[in-house]
């Protein structure tokens, strides 16, 4: 569940080992000196809503250069893959039109300041969209393949006054998952701070199987009462698990899992996974993850509508020789329209809550097809690239549409200032009728080695925000067992506190050989 406003983290930010500039965890480069941070040890204050307190400065990133995977010289159809500068790719924007350069006056400055280092030839090299109509954003250097934040200067954050969230149960930093859900995986070695054991065990980590639908005879809470037609126990009144509380889906080449978490009463995340084939018969695999904006109405419906629409759009476009990146752009537009139409339909009139917001959600999607890895997103849900060979660094493929990210990208604030603000985690982009302007971001990559794409909501990355942390949380056999990996990652978030709904999809790259190639 995304929130358009959250409490600012009061915690000190990590600093760049090169120039002591404060950093945002997950950054690839220092915003001031351009120091490469990707290989730095994982930071430990990854959760944005908790104040760890003074003295909790995470270890500084180590002085290790990034080893990026090299792009292959030819694509799957043996066509030479032209290498493009990052500025050739960046993101696509709403409407498919190029942004006028004037619309981002300080973009080069800001983006360069925020994430210079384009001189490092850093794979994954963005793959050129072979279709001409994939809009690119001109002249914006940035992390290769990752479009820079588009809006400069940022509009006033579309947030409401922030209500402080009580730190009733401080989220824990990454912690070794426990319980059957993660038993036997090879996660013992990932970078974990020592933390006090959780006082409240999560019952659901012990039952990773999908929650049975409501309507069972006995209440899961008191084990004595029957369940009424409304889904409550007739004895103790407790709400019974609902279908969306825990969802899993597995295809040959992709899997996803979603969980309500421990602190929310319903799951407002949604996902869709599917497989199809490109015109040449090679497999194409799709994963879409959406996070309903909880400060809007019917966020659960929004996320389902968006995930479904994006998935259907991709399934329709990919077999028709639409370039995957263009298909991704179109899919986000389709998802946006689906969410917008929810507002038009209206729900039950609620005259007592005039401050209603239109249904809204984030979206992040990934397509693995034809040797390409395409991601697209709006909001603060993320995609990560985690190579199977763990000696090779992982990478974050998306850049949040969040207030803090925008402020930093615009050069208006440094990260310490931006993330100290209570609006830091307000999202600045979302799908929904009240979105200012839809800015679908898409990017293509051409990984040179196997790995997995982790597509997730902030319910997961809050507990593995840094790239290294995320990579450490992903089981080593993720390419072979995507569902198990998704379950492990959900368990990771639940063990960390499960403050939000958790949804994660795992796509192996390249598409598994036994996969849905002919599907």
């Amino acid at each position: 569940m995304s929130q358009m406003h959250q409490v600012a983290p009061g915690s000190p930010r990590p600093t760049c080992p090169g120039c002591a500039e404060p950093l945002e965890s997950g950054d690839l480069f220092c915003g001031a000196c351009g120091y490469e941070l990707s290989a730095a040890p994982a930071q430990q204050d990854e959760h944005p809503t908790v104040a760890i307190g003074p003295g909790g400065v995470p270890p500084a990133p180590a002085d290790t250069p990034v080893e990026w995977p090299q792009a292959r010289e030819v694509d799957s159809s043996d066509v030479p893959a032209p290498v493009h500068l990052p500025s050739d790719l960046a993101g696509t924007d709403s409407g498919g039109a190029e942004l006028p350069a004037a619309a981002r006056p300080s973009s080069s400055d800001a983006s360069a300041a925020a994430m210079p280092g384009t001189e490092h030839s850093v794979p994954p090299v963005p793959d050129a969209p072979p279709v001409a109509d994939v809009p690119g954003v001109p002249g914006v250097p940035g992390v290769p393949g990752v479009p820079p934040m588009p809006e400069v200067p940022p509009a006033p954050a579309p947030v409401q006054p922030v209500q402080p969230v009580p730190p009733a149960q401080p989220p824990q930093p990454a912690q070794a998952p426990s319980g059957p859900a993660v038993a036997g995986n090879g996660l013992d070695d990932f970078d974990e701070p020592s933390t006090p054991s959780r006082p409240t065990p999560d019952p659901r980590t012990a039952t990773p199987t999908p929650t049975p639908p409501a309507g069972l005879k006995l209440c899961v809470a008191c084990r004595a009462g029957r369940v009424d037609r409304d889904g409550y126990c007739e004895r103790c009144g407790h709400a019974q698990p609902r279908e969306r509380d825990h969802m899993e889906q597995e295809l040959d080449a992709v899997a996803a899992a979603s969980d309500r978490g421990l602190r929310h009463h319903r799951n407002e995340d949604a996902f869709a996974v599917s497989a199809t084939a490109l015109p040449d018969g090679s497999p194409a695999v799709v994963a879409v993850v959406c996070d309903g904006v909880s400060s809007a109405t019917r966020p659960d419906e929004a996320s389902v509508a968006a995930a479904r629409a994006a998935n259907e759009s991709l399934l329709a476009a990919l077999p028709r020789e639409v370039h995957p990146q263009q298909a991704m752009h179109d899919a986000i537009i389709a998802a946006s329209e689906a969410v917008n139409s929810l507002a038009a339909q209206g729900g039950p009139a609620t005259p007592h809550d005039p401050q209603q917001n239109a249904p809204a959600c984030t979206i992040v999607a990934s397509v693995v097809a034809g040797g390409l890895l395409v991601v697209g997103w709006v909001g603060d849900s993320r995609a990560y690239w985690v190579p199977a060979d763990r000696s090779v660094p992982a990478a974050r493929l998306t850049e949040d549409d969040s207030w803090a990210a925008q402020m930093v990208a615009a050069g208006l604030m440094n990260e310490a200032e931006a993330y100290a603000d209570e609006r830091a985690h307000a999202i600045t982009g979302w799908l929904g009728a009240d979105a200012y302007e839809l800015e679908p971001h898409t990017a293509s990559f051409k990984p040179d080695r196997p790995g997995v794409v982790v597509v997730c909501t902030d319910g997961l990355w809050n507990y593995a925000e840094g790239v290294e942390e995320m990579a450490a949380a992903v089981p080593f056999d993720a390419t072979q067992r995507p569902l198990h990996s998704a379950q492990v990652l959900v368990g990771h978030a639940l063990d960390g506190g499960g403050h939000d709904n958790v949804t994660v999809a795992v796509l192996p790259f390249p598409v598994a050989s036994q996969g849905a190639g002919s599907a």
Binding site: P166, D230, Y232, C236, L262, R263, P348, A349, D353
Partner: protein, 474 residues
Amino acid sequence: MANFAKPKGPQFAVEVYSNEHLPEGGREVNAIVTVTSTGGGTTGGGTTGGLAPATASTDSGGPDAGGPDAGGPDAAVAIMVDCSGSMDYPPTKMRGARDATAAAIDALRDGVRFAVIAGTHVAKEIYPGDGRLAVADDRTRAAARHALRRLAAGGGTAIGTWLRLADRLLNSADAPEAAVRHGILLTDGRNEHEAPEELQAALDSCAGRYTCDARGVGTDWEVKEVTGIASALLGSADIVADPAGLAADFTHLMETAMGKEIADVALRLWTPLGAEIKYVKQVAPTVEDLTGRRTPVGPRAGDYPTGSWGDESRDYHVCVEVPDAGIGQEMLAARVSLVIDRGDGTVQNLSHGLVRAVWTDDLAASTAINPQVAHYTGQAELAQVIQQGLDARKSGDTDGATAKLGRAVQLAAGSGNADTARLLAKVVDVVDAATGTVRLKAKVEDADEMTLETRSTKTVRVTHAKNVQHAQDT
């Protein structure tokens, strides 16, 4: 005793507005339950949903009771007229009572069973007599009007005897099993010729067997007696200070009674194990505490009487204390149903709504007070402080009276309860309504004070403007 009467019985809709979001450790759930009954001929309840709407509607679908007239439900009505000696002082009271009774008789629908009782220190049947009920038609109405000439002042006042006679008549074999049973009682003085315990015993024995409106004419009657009768018998209470106004009032009362379509509807509350109902109040159109009137039915459920219903809407405030549950948990704090007894030990569920409790660490959600809950909490306090203020005034506690009535002025003004504000202004001089600054009037008409006391429980419904204002807080 049964139940629905109309071929196409009314439809009930239940809407729940609640403070469903609780902070960690929070246990009290407050909900306003709006029950709307609409005639069998119309569909839907005009329900608009709400912040936390749990709306359901069920056609009560009763069998055709076969009334002899133009489609109204079976009904039996008894009119009780005070004929104590004081009714002749001034004589306009007796005249007014006679005219009013005649007007009420004229308002009887054809086919309705009815009787007229003269009340003194004993109860006497005026029409039709012999322990029977008449069936309304042109002939019986004329005969009844003629019989009213025998209404003459003389004797004492023992209201309990009137109520018991009305009970016998309304529940006699003449009244159809499914009839809506209703009484209209008029008095002008204190219940001086029986012990208060006897009146209470009569009320206890009549409660649930028929409903009764009570009216006080003049200013020599006891407000708490009249409101007590109406409260026990789920009817309305009011003052008619000027006997000339009686006829119009009785006509209105009878029309309202004729509009009742279904009797003996109960508000059934189910609560989960470990939960406790702190109170159940009707809060609109008047404040009526029902907490003590619970009849247990089965495990963790109880019925609260609501009387008979026509096309109308009432609001109830339900306050439940639930066992604590952790953040992210959700439970059903109460299930609210409208039920009627089928007469064979089973009940028919007319409609139901759910009161949920959701524990959240979102302070914005858990601290937001539902506008409906806030509004009616204020209206209940308004009724209470008026009563306390008038009691203090009677006992000579000027400071206490000023403070309480000042608060009442503030609440009435703030909630848009214009009628009550107007009545208050006849008892106190309002210096500043917003702050509740008032001065007691030196001279207050008895009628004004009694009107305020009798009508102190009248509430107004939440206004839209208030909603908007509230939402800005979140």
